[in-house]
Amino acid sequence: MTNPPVTSLPVIHTSDLTKVYAGTDVTAVDGLNLTVYQGEIFGLLGPNGAGKTTTAGMLTTRVLPSAGSAFVAGIDVVAQPNLTKQFIGVVSQVNTLDRQLSVWENLYFHGRLFGMGAIESREVASELLETFQLTRWAKASVYALSGGMAQRLMVARAIFHRPAVLFLDEPTAGLDPQSRLALWEIMKQLNADGQTILLTTHYMEEAEQLCHRVAIMDHGKLLALDTPTNLKHSTGIDTIVTVKATGDLNELGRALALLDGASSVRAVERGVELHVAGGERLLTRVIAAAEGVGAQVQDVSVAEPSLETVFIRLTGRELRD
C-alpha cells in the first residue's frame, strides 16, 4: 500500500458497545471498544456469527445497541441517527440497487436523496460511472449487471455523497476472483484518496491485503486488534509446516513437537501442522523426524503465518468453521 494516509483523528469510537437481540439471550456484540482513525482501512475479521455485521449495523444506525455508546464522525449514533446518516456510506451484503431505475438513475437519485441539486447530482453520477467503468451501462437496467458490476455500482452509490466513513459488509462475498481483485483495487484507490473504510470480512486474505488494522472478533468479543503484521508477529512463530502423511499421525505430531524451535502442532486433514519459531534446516529435520516414526510423507508445504494462524491460536478453531 502506498503512503497510507492514516491520521490520528478518530472517526469511529465505540465504548462498551453491546447488542443482545430481543427474544434471544445471545450477546451478538459484547462490550466492544474500538477506535478507527481517519484515513484507515479498518477490518473486522471473524467467522460467521462473530458479531461483525451487528457491529457494522449499530454504527450505521440499523441496529439499536443494548448498551454502550458509538460515535461516528463525532456524532452520537444512537441519539442522532438521522444526522449520522449524512456522514456514512453503506454497502450491504446483498444487492440493494433500485431495480426500477437505470444504472445512471441509481446514482442520480442517491445524490438527490442526500440533498444535492439536480445539476450536481447529474455531474457526479456521470463522473462516478466513468471512474467505476460503468459508463457504457449507464442506461441499462440494473438487472443487466453482473455481480461484480452491481457491487461496483453499490460502492459508487455509497461514496456519492462523500461520506466520512464507508462501511462495506462482506463486500466480496460471492464474487468471482477477478471481480474481487477489481474491488480490492477500488478500495485501495478510494483509500489513497483519503476515504476511511470499515469493512467486515471472513476472508483473511482480504483483511491482510487491504487493512491497516484488523480487529479479530469471535462470539461478539474483540480478541485482538493490531496491524496485520503485528498480529502475525504476536503469534511468536515465523513458519508453518504442513506435513501430509500416512501412518500414525499422533506419533508424528509428538515427534514434530520435539523439534528445535517447534512452538505447537495441531492435527489437520490427513496430516499435521507444525508452528515453528526460528530453526535451521527445518525441512530436513521435519522429514527425518517423520521417517523416524515410520510415517510415509506425501507432501510437505511451508508457509508464513497468516491472520488465519492468529485466529487459530486465539480460538483453537479455523476461521471458516
Binding site: 437481540y21 481517519q38 450491504s92 440493494t96 426500477q100
Partner: protein
C-alpha cells in the same frame, strides 16, 4: 476518484435533510411511473373499464337486470349506473393504494431488499414509509381522475349515470380516501411476508371489495336482516372501503349515502390508525 474530506460544518439540519429526501423519494417514484406510464394507465383503467363494460353495457344489452327492477325501462339501469360509477372510482383509489404501496413494499422488503438502502437516507425512517403513503395517495387521486370519465362514459344507450360533482366534497374526500387507502397499503405491505402476499388478495382485498358498497348503497342493505337485526348493514361498517365508496357517492352523485358527518371522521380515524400501525410495523422490520 473522489476524495472524501470530512467537513462536519457541511452538515444540514435534520429538517432540511428530511425535506430534500422526501422530495427525492417522490421524484424517484414519479420517474418510475413516467417510464411505464402506459402500464400505469392500463393497470388503472382495466378494472373500472371491465366493471362498467359488463354491468352497464353488456347487462342492459342482454336484458340482465341489475337495478333491482321497477320504474321505466332504462331507469333502473341508470340508477344502478349512478351507484356503480362512484363505487368504481372508490375501488380504483383502493387498488391504487394497495398496488403502489403494499405490493411495492413487500417486494422491496423481500425480493429486492431495496428498502435497506432507502432507509440509509439522511432522514427519519418513518419518513421513508410516509413517502410511500403520500406517493400511493397521489397515484390514487390520479387514478380517480382517470377513472371517473371512463366510468361515466362506458355504458349502453339509454343508460345514464347521473353525475353531479360536489366540488368541495370531491376536493377534500378524494385525497382523504386516497391517504387512508395508501396507509392500508402500508399496513398490508409491512405485515405480509412477500411469499404470502397472494393471500392478501383472498383474505383482505376480495372481502373488502365485495362488502365495501361498490355495487350498492349502504342504506339498500337494510332488508338483509335476521329477527329485525340488520346484520349485514352492521357488519360492513368495519369496512374502510364502505366509507370511501359512500364518500364518492357524496362527491360525484346526488344519491343517498352515509352522512358526511360520519364519513369524514371515520376515514380520518382509519387513516390515522392504519398509518400509525403501518409506521410501527415498518420501523420494526427495518430496525433490530
Amino acid at each position: 476518484m473522489k476524495p472524501s474530506p470530512i467537513s462536519l460544518s457541511s452538515q444540514r439540519s435534520t429538517w432540511s435533510a428530511g425535506r430534500s429526501a422526501l422530495v427525492a423519494l417522490l421524484l424517484r417514484d414519479f420517474t418510475v411511473i413516467k417510464k411505464d406510464i402506459k402500464l400505469f394507465f392500463l393497470r388503472t383503467v382495466i378494472q373500472p373499464f371491465l366493471l362498467c363494460f359488463v354491468f352497464l353495457y353488456v347487462f342492459p344489452k342482454i336484458g340482465q337486470s341489475v337495478g333491482g327492477g321497477g320504474g321505466s325501462p332504462g331507469a333502473a339501469e341508470s340508477d344502478f349506473a349512478t351507484v356503480l360509477v362512484a363505487g368504481v372510482v372508490g375501488i380504483s383509489v383502493m387498488f391504487q393504494g394497495l398496488q403502489s404501496v403494499a405490493l411495492q413494499m413487500s417486494q422491496e422488503f423481500g425480493f429486492t431488499r431495496e428498502i435497506e438502502d432507502r432507509v440509509q437516507a439522511p432522514c427519519p425512517i418513518w419518513l421513508v414509509a410516509l413517502e410511500k403513503v403520500v406517493s400511493g395517495a397521489l397515484q390514487g387521486m390520479l387514478s380517480a381522475l382517470i377513472v371517473l370519465p371512463i366510468a361515466a362514459l362506458v355504458h349502453a344507450n339509454g343508460v345514464h349515470a347521473a353525475i353531479h360533482i360536489h366540488w368541495l366534497v370531491m376536493l377534500t374526500l378524494v385525497p382523504l380516501a386516497a391517504l387512508a387507502m395508501g396507509s392500508l397499503g402500508l399496513v398490508i405491505g409491512t405485515s405480509f411476508e412477500p411469499r404470502n402476499i397472494g393471500l392478501m388478495f383472498g383474505f383482505i382485498v376480495l372481502p373488502i371489495t365485495f362488502l365495501g358498497g361498490t355495487y350498492y348503497q349502504w342504506n339498500r342493505l337494510a332488508p338483509v336482516q335476521i329477527g329485525g337485526w340488520h346484520w349485514l348493514q352492521t357488519i360492513v361498517l368495519v369496512n374502510p372501503l364502505l366509507y370511501v365508496n359512500e364518500g364518492m357517492r357524496a362527491a360525484f352523485t346526488d344519491v343517498a349515502h352515509i352522512h358526511l358527518y360520519l364519513i369524514y371522521p371515520v376515514l380520518l380515524v382509519f387513516f390515522a390508525g392504519f398509518l400509525s400501525l403501518g409506521l410501527r410495523n415498518f420501523r420494526r422490520r427495518v430496525l433490530s
